[in-house]
């Protein structure tokens, strides 16, 4: 069997895609956190982005790098069609595995945890949903959170 095809298939195994996205983003995020291009003055900064940055004020750079990798990795995974995740329940299961692999412990920054929970609840994600119709909305949310993490590192 074609080894490249094999590798692609393995990468599209449920969960593996998200791990790859998270780990790849975590690997480069240390560089990104210290080398972020300044946000253009004309860009509208979303409330979520602003509050994420505020929640992480004073956070260690190592943690910001990990968080950036996690959030942007999740957004990338959603944008790539979220292979292996049909519902938000599936997504949370895969996310939990990704957190385990990355070594991130929950609630290290309680204000950020509250913010993410509030934003997800406010958008109606307290109940399980099919993922496809809401993937773009979730992608935007996690991109905004990643943006806030970038801002906190400046």
């Amino acid at each position: 069997m074609d080894p490249i095809l094999n590798l692609l298939r393995r990468l599209c195994n449920p969960g593996v895609c998200l791990w790859v996205a998270v780990l790849a983003n975590t690997a480069v995020s240390g560089w990104m956190v210290v080398r972020l291009t300044p946000t253009p003055a004309v860009e509208m900064v979303s409330g979520v982005r602003f509050r994420a940055a505020a929640a992480l004020a004073g956070a260690a750079h190592k943690d910001l790098a990990s968080l950036y990798g996690l959030m942007s990795g999740l957004a990338d995974y959603l944008e790539a069609g979220h292979p292996g995740s049909e519902t938000t329940i599936d997504l949370l299961e895969i996310w939990a595995r990704a957190l385990l692999i990355s070594g991130w412990e929950l609630e290290q920054y309680p204000e950020l945890t509250d913010l993410v929970e509030d934003e997800l609840k406010r958008r109606g994600f307290g109940e399980p949903k099919k993922l496809a119709p809401v993937a773009a909305e979730l992608t935007d949310l996690f991109r905004a959170l990643a943006g806030g993490i970038e801002d906190a590192s400046e």
């Binding site: 968080l67 996690l70 959030m71 049909e86 519902t87 938000t88 329940i89 599936d90 949370l92 996310w95 957190l99 991130w104 929950l106 609630e107 920054y109 950020l112 945890t113 993410v116 929970e117 997800l120 609840k121 994600f125 307290g126 109940e127 399980p128 949903k129 099919k130 993922l131």
Partner: protein, 298 residues
């Protein structure tokens, strides 16, 4: 059992006790630790899941005293639609046919004890959908269930569901039923995508107040279904779907509720309806697991 075409229920503690004695989880309260309190301060507008699948909400109009099967079928629809909209298995084919539930409740569960009189009990309807299953509004061979027929309901209420349809119905069971006793039971069940049938002697007026609620009044020996709840609002309560068509009630509405429905205050629900002890939660999973997600994810 006295029944006219608007009603069809009467209290029968013996029938309720008999059904409860056969259940692993006879009462929702003790069986639902996983969901306890989960509905506090929230709302669950579950009828919208049905609307998303079929468009306009399918309002039922009973033609005989088969309110028990109308309420049960409404609850089944809400549980199925909510499960499907949440990504669960199964596809929506059509609304649930009340005639099958009516026949199964009276003949299979009730062993024909009610003879030719109309009517059934909440417990019998609940046990029918759990143990014998459901059919939907489509044609099954020579049996056309596409449009509700009071005449067919009455026939099946005496003769039972035709034998050839029993295996088909059995493929579509409600997985769990438990008696509900408090507003909190109902609130938490709805918050997790479960629906509730309510049966009691409590009647209501026919003009909703400014908040969409009906004031209790008179006697209705009747079963209906709870298809939504709002514990966020200053008047906590539930949305009740009746089976008398769209025009029997008028007045203000909230949350774009379906025609023919009305809100009931939490205390009225608990003290005047659930106290008659024949109201049942319907679930699509065994054991009332939580279906609200933990979103503390980072």
């Amino acid at each position: 059992m006295p029944a006219n075409k608007h009603f069809g229920w009467s209290p029968n503690p013996e029938a309720v006790g008999d059904v409860m004695s056969q259940l692993r989880h006879p009462l929702l309260g003790p069986a639902s630790e996983a969901i306890k309190g989960s509905g506090a301060g929230t709302k669950a507008l579950l009828w919208k899941n049905v609307e998303q699948l079929v468009g306009q909400y399918p309002v039922r109009t009973q033609a005989i005293g088969d309110c028990v099967s109308q309420g049960a079928a409404t609850a089944v629809d809400v549980v199925k639609a909510t499960s499907i909209q949440s990504g669960g298995a199964g596809i929506w084919r059509a609304e649930t046919a009340s005639e099958a539930i009516y026949g199964l409740s009276r003949v299979e569960v009730g062993q024909g004890k009610l003879g030719r009189d109309d009517g059934s009990y909440g417990a019998w309807g609940a046990k029918a959908v759990k143990d014998y299953g459901t059919l939907v509004r489509e044609r099954y061979g020579q049996h056309d269930l596409g449009v509700y027929s009071g005449k067919l309901a009455r026939e099946w209420g005496v003769d039972g569901l035709p034998d050839e349809l029993e295996p088909v119905a059995h493929e579509h069971l409600i997985q769990e039923i438990s008696l509900v006793e408090t507003y909190e039971d109902v609130r938490d069940a709805l918050a997790n995508g479960y629906a509730v049938t309510i049966a009691s002697m409590q009647g209501f007026r026919d003009v909703r107040d400014d908040d969409g609620f009906l004031k209790p009044s008179g006697e209705w020996p009747h079963q209906m279904a709870v298809i939504g709840m709002d514990d966020e609002f200053e008047r906590p309560g539930v949305l009740v779907m009746n089976s008398w068509g769209s025009n029997w009630v008028s007045g203000p509405t909230r949350h774009n509720q379906p025609p023919g429905s009305f809100w009931v205050d939490a205390d009225v629900l608990e003290t005047k309806i659930l106290s008659d002890e024949d109201s049942w939660a319907f679930g699509d999973y065994e054991g009332w697991p939580a279906k609200t997600l933990n979103l503390r994810i980072i």
